[in-house]
Structure formats: C-alpha cells, structure tokens
C-alpha cells in the first residue's frame, strides 16, 4: 500500500508533539479514581423485570488536568457513566473517589458542597438552557445556589464569564432564543464554569453543532482548560474529535470499558477486538486505500440482559470457540445468528403481556421453531454433532422454553468468551484491554483477525 509507512511516520511525529503539548498541563496526580462502578436502572413496572445495566463494572482513573475521552456506540452507557461521576445518577455499587473522597457516599449538605467541584456541559444546546430565563439568570443560578458573594459580585462574575466564553456582557439580558446553537453551547459552558469546578464532564458537547462551529467550541474548551487547569471527561462518538482533543481514551461497550489507554497509541494500534471494529468504521481519508472493514454482525444485546462472560461475545469476530467442535467459519456464523434469534426470543425480550401469560401458565410456544432452523441452516453443511445440538435446541424452542434453548446452546457452543468474564491485560505502556485473547494461551486478537481474513489497522 503506497504511503502507509510515510503516513505512520508523520502521524508519529504529530503524536509526539501533541503528547508534549498535553502533558504540559498534566500533573500525573490522580483526581478521579473509579473502581468497579455499576449503575443500574430499576425502571420495571409492576411486574418487575430486569434492571438496565447501563454501567456494569467499570474501573479507571483520570489524572488532574487531563482530558479523558469516552467513546462507544450510542446506548453503551457512556453518558450514564458521565452522569454517575457527577452524581446525577446514583451508583448501584462501586466507588468514585474524587481527590480521595468517595463521592458515592455523599449526601445532603456534603453532596451539595461537593457539587461545586464537578459540573457538566450537556449535549443538546436546545434543551440545556431554560428558555424562560435570561442568559444572565441562567449563568448566575449556580452562584445563587451556592450563595457566592453579594448579588452585585455575582452579576459581575457572570459578565466576566460571558467574556471568557466569547460572548458579550450585554448578552446578560437576552434570552436563549436569540442565540445560535454554538452561542447557546457557550452559555452552557459559562454556566458549567461559574462555580470554578475542577472537573467537567463534556457530554458530546459539539455533536449537535454545525461542523464549522464545532472547531470553535473545541478550541474554546481547550483554552479554558489551559486557563483554569480543568480536568475533562469528554464523551463522544465522533472519533476524530476524540483523537484531536483527548489525552487518554476509554472505549465502552455495553456498560464495560473494553480498552483504556493513551489516545495516539490506542488509535494507531488498537488491541481489543471491539476497539478494532470501532476504529475500522472511521472512513479512511485516502479513498485509494482498500480496507476490509470489520462490520459487526447483529445489534448490541439489551443492557437488561447482557451476555455472561465477555459483553462483546455475541458479536465479536474473533470469539474463542470451544475446541471440541470442528466447524467451518460459515457454520460458526450461522450458529451465532441462530443464537441471536433465540436470545431475542428469550425472557428479557418478552413484552409484559407475554411475561404475564407465561406466569399464568399459558403456552407461549413458538410455532415456527422448525422454520427458524431451516432458515438459518438450510444452505450450509452442518457437521453431525452441530446438527444434533441445533435440533435439541429447536426441541426446547417448540416446547415453549427459549430460555432452556438458549442455555443449552451456550453450554455446547460457548467457549471461554461466553462463560468467563475477561480480565484487564496490560497490553502496552499505560494501556489495558478487556479480552481473553491477551492471555498467553490464546492467539492475540490482531493475529486472529488476520487469520479470519480481516484487515487490521496495525497491519
């Protein structure tokens, strides 16, 4: 491939520059230490149901002065994680220690007092500002809540803030309606900075803005970080923005951090299979370069019912297969699809009505279990043992017990990825990846991907 080496070289130099640049305001001292954090929502109605496991055991640290990026598809729990860190959501378990204090334990006056330290810039500038209040009132409210200074001093402070975020003091008495999206976001930033916090969660702060405005806001955020020594948690799904602004990045999938590490290393040499898939979705700047993208099959499982073992196991292109079954890649693909279908039929996906029927003992059998099997496997040659297993599962299915079918399939076709939760492996300097394949006894994710015919970034 022409130019690859050269590209890498230039990116390499850019990287070292940006690292030097960002390190200048990092102290290396830990500001935020998150340990095994879980945030579940119990939004079940009368009939209960499983909680949504939005954040399902996440650990990482953020050092003072750095920008920590959090990426992942929508619904992966990154926003919930950000909201939990500033105590907009209550953690189900785990700890978040901020400067040594476990903030999940705070309540009442202590919590309110702590809130000065951590603020948030919201995603949607249309929704983040109360349209019935003037810009001045909006930015002043945090100061009023914390009773900072006299009324005159607060107004003075608001005007300073307006100036700092690039607006005019005479905007004080305007209403949000009179501003563009970018300006509204500046107002939101001013409000977040009013209490002079140390830590700011930026929840996709530019995703709702025009591309031309995005750069301005990002620059503003960087300037403000410089000026006030802020620590950022930057939540985004636009990977190029993350690469531009973040010092370190965490990649989230289904409530778990799959990989954490310094931005440039992670972008250049992703380790975790999920990170690789995510990055391969970035359009290649050079259209002549042919890349076989890693397209993920299926959709992410429901966070009410995440897979046991590795969260990515249902879609992972390099999932570890059990050794006692010998089948072709095509057959394994069909097995995965078949398991997806059954997963969707099983308990977590049932409507309340169906759940009620089941409780009352009505038959919820699937009349079409034969059809499903046919559809999936008619055009491939199944080895004998695989066929037997599939038929057994189909029997459970036609007995109206998709749960049993699902458990059975996991039993016979599930490898280590289906049964054991991976651990974090140190894969690089300061980088960790959440995948069994980093263990000694397995082929590494990169090698396995290439073996299965995918292009990889670190090729």
């Amino acid at each position: 491939m022409p130019g690859t080496a050269a590209d890498t070289a230039t990116e390499g130099t850019q990287m070292s520059e940006s690292v030097v640049d960002t390190v200048s305001h990092q102290t290396g001292e830990t500001l935020l230490d998150v340990q095994d954090l879980k945030t579940y929502y119990e939004d079940g109605g009368l009939l209960g149901g499983d909680p949504v496991k939005a954040v399902d055991g996440v650990s990482f640290e953020i050092s003072r002065g750095e920008t920590f990026g959090l990426v992942g598809e929508s619904g992966c729990g990154k926003t919930t994680l950000g909201r939990t860190l500033i105590q907009l959501e209550t953690a189900t378990s785990g700890t978040v220690s901020f400067d040594g204090t476990d903030i999940t334990e705070l309540s009442g006056g202590d919590l309110k007092e702590w809130r000065r330290n951590a603020q948030m810039v919201f995603q949607d500038p249309e929704s983040s500002l109360n349209d019935r209040m003037t810009v001045g009132e909006i930015i002043r409210e945090p100061l009023d809540v914390h009773e900072q200074g006299t009324a005159r001093e607060r107004r003075e402070k608001v005007r300073t803030l307006l100036d700092q975020v690039g607006l005019m003091p005479e905007h004080y008495y305007r209403y949000p309606h009179q501003f563009s999206g970018g300006q509204r976001q500046r107002i939101g930033i001013a409000r977040a900075l009013a209490l002079e916090p140390e830590f700011v969660v930026l929840d996709e702060p530019v995703s709702a803005l025009d591309v031309s405005v995005q750069a301005q806001i990002l620059n503003l955020l960087e300037e403000l970080q410089e000026e006030f020594g802020l620590t950022y948690l930057f939540i985004a799904h636009d990977l190029s923005v993350v690469r531009h602004i973040c010092d370190r990045v965490g990649v989230m999938y289904l409530g778990n951090l799959m990989e954490v590490g310094p931005t440039e290393q992670l972008f250049q040499r992703p380790e975790n299979p999920y990170t690789r898939a995510l990055l391969s979705a970035i359009p290649e700047p050079d259209p002549t370069v042919q890349v076989d993208r890693i397209t993920l099959p299926g959709s992410p499982p429901s966070p009410r019912d995440p897979p046991e073992g590795c969260p990515f196991a249902t879609r992972c292109p390099v999932r570890i297969r059990p050794e006692d079954i010998d089948a072709s890649d095509a057959v394994w693909d069909r097995i995965r699809e078949f398991r997806d279908v059954i997963r969707e039929r099983s308990r977590a996906e049932q409507s309340i009505g169906e759940r009620l029927k089941e409780r009352l003992g009505f038959d919820t059998a699937l009349a079409d279990s034969e059809e499903i099997v046919d559809e999936e496997f008619s055009d491939v040659d199944l080895p004998r043992d695989v066929r037997e297993h599939v038929e057994q599962a189909a029997t459970y299915l036609s007995d109206g017990d998709p749960d049993a079918a699902r458990a059975y399939l996991r039993e016979v076709f599930g490898g280590q990825c289906d049964t054991e939760t991976p651990q974090y492996y140190d894969v690089d300097d300061g980088r960790m990846s959440f995948c069994h394949r980093h263990a000694q006894e397995h082929v590494s994710p990169g090698d396995e991907l290439r073996r299965r015919g995918y292009d990889t970034h670190d090729g």
Partner: protein, 486 residues
C-alpha cells in the same frame, strides 16, 4: 426600546433603573393611585369584609367584629361608582322625577351608572396595560422576552380577545354587583319587607310609602294578563327593570348580577384549588416519576371513575346541615366538591407537558449544581405547564358553571334566597312560551355566553403559548397535540 446606555448600567437591578429614570413610572403610579382611590372605599370594604367573614369562622371569632365594623365604615364613605352619587331610584311627582340623578328618568340614571362602571374598568385595565408597555419601554433590561411573543399572538387572536372581553364583562358584573343593578340584593331579594320605598300613586296623585315586598307583588312576571314586567320597562311603582322581573316581582338584573358572583366564586375557587392540586402533582410525578406517578395515576383514575354528578348530589344532601354548607349558602361546599372532582382532568392535561419538561437537560443541569428540588420544579418546570393549566382550567371552569346551574335547576345547589342563574331558569321554565319568556331565557343566554367566552379565551391562550397547534384544524396534528397533552 432601551437607549444606548453605557455597559455599566446593563446589570442594574430594576430598583436602580427606576431611580435612574423615574419620570414615567411616577406619573403612571400617580394616575393609578387616583384610579384606585376613586373606588378605594369599595375595595377596602370588600377586603375587610372578607377578612371579617373569614375570622368569624374561626373559633371565638377573634377580631371579626372589628373588621366588620371597619368594613362597614368604608362602605359608608363616598366613592365614584355608588348609588348615592348616581341614584336611579325615585318617584315621579306628576311633573318631574324626584330623587334620581339630575332628575333624569330612572332608566337613564341607571344606564349612566352601568356604563360608568364599565368605563371605569376599561380605563383601569387600559392603564395597567399601559403600565406594562411603559415597563417594557423604559425599565425592562431585556429587549425581548419569550412572553412578548405570547402576548403578541394573543393580541392578534380575535376569537381569544372576544373571550377575554366576555370574561371581563362577566367578572366586572360580579365584582360590582352591588352598584351595577338598579337595586340591591339586600333590599330587593333578601329582605324586601324590611325596606320601604316611595312611589307616586296616580289614582290619588300623591306620593305614598310602601314596603318593597308589597311593591314586588305588583311587579311580578307571571306570563298571563297584566302581570308581566318585561325587558327594558318600568313597573307600576316607577322602578326600572333592564331585563324585567322574576315571578316574584324581584328585579332580574340584580338577581343575575349577584348570581354571577356566586357562579364566578365557585368556578374560580374550585379551579384555583384543583389547579394547585394538579400542578403540584404533575410536577412531583414528573420530577420523581416511578411510584409517585403510579399512585397519582391510580388515584385520579378512581376519582374519574366516580359518577361526578351523583357524587355532588349525594354530598349536598349529606352535608345539608353541616357548617360547611352554611358558608356562602353552600358555595364553599361546591368549591371543595368541584375541586375534588375536577383535579384529575386538569392533572391529565398538564401531565404530558410536565413529563416532557422534566426530561429537559436544564433540569439535569440544575440538579448538577445542587438546586433544591422544590426550586427546580417551580423555576424550571412550572412555567412550562402553567399555560396548559390555564387553557384547561378555563375550559373546565365553563363546565363547573354549567354544573352549578344545573344543580340549582333541579333544586339542589345554592339555596334561596342567594341568587343563582340556574334557579332563575328553573323558575321561569313554565313561562318560556308566554310573554314572561325573559325569566328563563336571559340567564340561559348569559350562561351560554359566559361558557363560550371562557372557551374562546382558552383557545386564544392555547394558540398563543403553542403556535404550532394553530391551523392544525382537527387534523392528525391536532389529534397528536391533544394526545400529547393527555
């Protein structure tokens, strides 16, 4: 618009801005004072009287006497809109009218007072509006606020303005009931045999004394023969009746004016209570969701499942001799009953908007810097649902007025002698086809007009706060908006 002032002044509080430029505000305030003083005794009389009435209900009635006498004292003081200043009652002594305003015919004397009342209210409201305009021009720091748009839309919404005019007409009638009628409720309706009047006896050609009760006997509208005093006519005793008399010979206009008081009092009172309940519950359920929401849904469903009219009828019977039914001849009981029955409807109307506003990020933002939940609900959520509340409350208010009249019509409800429109309709029912048709028809038309007025006003407010709903004439969009509201 604001003049180009130095930036330093931009964040002056209102007080400082007033000080810096007091001219227009002082002038406006002075004129307002004069306007209020013209009718000052009436306002103080009403206010102190109400406080006295309230205190009298407390055990031991502390201070009730003092308030009552203070109220009476102010009631005696001269003021602009008074019967003493523009009397319309007098007698014809064969050559001229005695005792009436400037010796005019009672008809014209009354008409002048009637028009003066409306002129006064129009000037007062106009002046308040002018005050708002002045505030916008000279003292408000913001050039524009979202409310400006709402007001502008309402100003060009003629159907809504018609509704507003009707509602103001009706409220004025209720508020100035004691002076707006040709006679008073006390003399003409409640204690006619305690008061005397003079009239000119044509047979004897002398001025004679008679009790009002006796005179009423001679001015009855009974459909047949001579006994009818219709619209815009005098009775045999030289009394003018703008819309005729009742079967009992009492003045229908006076009856209607005081009836407006009762209807309005019940309507506004019950809607105020129901509105407070509905808003509080909507805010609390939208903020906390979950179990709170579920409880309120179940409660409101069970309230709505009850047959409302039956419940009211039952309650009026059960509470018949209870002290609560004594208050304002049962009006208080109705306020409580209608508040109880109607809050679920209002709550349902604002629940959707409340849930929607509860999802806004500015609510999260307020939580994130530690704003108290009560303040969040009041400042960041309530302003967005109050418009909807107003819309549905004025719709429902029409319904309450109809219900109260319906109850009086079937003989329950507000007890005689306190005037109530429904009772007039009931009384006049058998004369509808006769020359005394006015007894039923006039109050009937008034009810229709008032209810239409409230509906029109509610349409106007709805279109003003939510311009998207305008023009979606019953189509899918309208249905969706309605669904979103419920």
């Amino acid at each position: 618009m604001m003049e180009t002032e130095p930036t330093e002044d931009i964040d002056q509080p209102l007080r400082d801005r007033l000080k810096a430029h007091p001219g227009p505000a002082l002038l406006w305030g002075a004129v307002l004072c004069v306007l209020l003083l013209l009718e000052g005794p009436t306002y103080l009389d009403g206010l102190l009287g109400a406080i006295g009435y309230g205190l009298a209900l407390l055990p031991g009635s502390p201070g009730a006497e003092a308030f009552a006498s203070a109220s009476a004292f102010f009631g005696e003081l001269p003021h602009l809109l008074s019967r003493e200043l523009i009397p319309n009652r007098g007698y014809y002594d064969g050559s001229a009218w005695q005792g009436t305003f400037l010796g005019l015919e009672p008809k014209y004397a009354w008409l002048i007072r009637f028009l003066l009342v409306y002129a006064y209210v129009a000037v007062l409201l106009g002046w308040l509006w002018y005050g708002y305009v002045l505030f916008r021009r000279h003292y408000r720091a913001a050039d524009w606020t979202p409310t400006d748009d709402v007001i502008d839309r309402l100003r060009s919404h003629y159907w809504g303005l018609f509704g507003l005019a009707v509602v103001v007409f009706f409220i004025t009638m209720a508020a100035f009931a004691p002076v707006i009628g040709p006679t008073t409720a006390e003399e003409n309706i409640e204690g006619p045999y305690s008061y005397d009047m003079q009239y000119y006896n044509e047979d004897t050609e002398t001025v004679e004394n008679i009790t009002i009760g006796e005179a009423n006997l001679g001015s009855a509208s009974r459909g047949s023969g001579d006994s009818n005093v219709g619209i815009w006519s005098y009775d045999d005793f030289g009394r003018f009746h703008p819309v005729g008399t009742l079967v009992s010979g009492k003045d229908l206009f006076t009856f209607l004016a005081f009836g407006a008081r009762v209807s309005l009092f019940i309507g506004l009172g019950s809607m105020a209570i129901a509105g407070v309940i509905a808003t509080t519950l909507a805010l609390v359920t939208a903020y906390y969701k979950g179990v709170a929401d579920l409880i309120v849904v179940l409660t409101s469903d069970s309230v709505q499942a009850m047959p409302a009219l039956l419940l009211v009828i039952l309650a009026t019977v059960v509470f018949k001799n209870h002290w609560i039914a004594e208050l304002y001849n049962g009006a208080m009981l109705f306020i409580l009953l209608f508040a109880l029955i109607r809050w679920p409807g209002l709550w349902r109307a604002v629940r959707g908007p409340a849930l929607q506003v509860g999802e806004q990020e500015w609510v999260d933002a307020a939580k994130s810097y530690g704003q108290r939940p009560t303040v969040i609900m009041r400042k960041h959520m309530a302003p967005y649902i109050l418009g909807y509340l107003l819309v549905y409350a004025s719709l429902t208010l029409g319904g309450v007025i109809i219900s109260v009249s319906a109850l009086s019509f079937i003989g329950l409800g507000i007890t005689a002698p306190t005037p109530e429109w429904g009772r007039a309709i009931n009384i006049g029912q058998q004369y509808v086809a006769s020359q005394s048709w006015h007894i039923s028809l006039i109050p009937g038309l008034l009810i229709t007009l008032v209810v239409t007025g409230f509906n029109a006003l509610s349409d106007g407010i709805r279109d003003a706060i939510d311009p998207q709903s305008e023009g979606a004439e019953g189509g899918a969009a309208g249905a969706a908006a309605g669904g979103g509201g419920g």
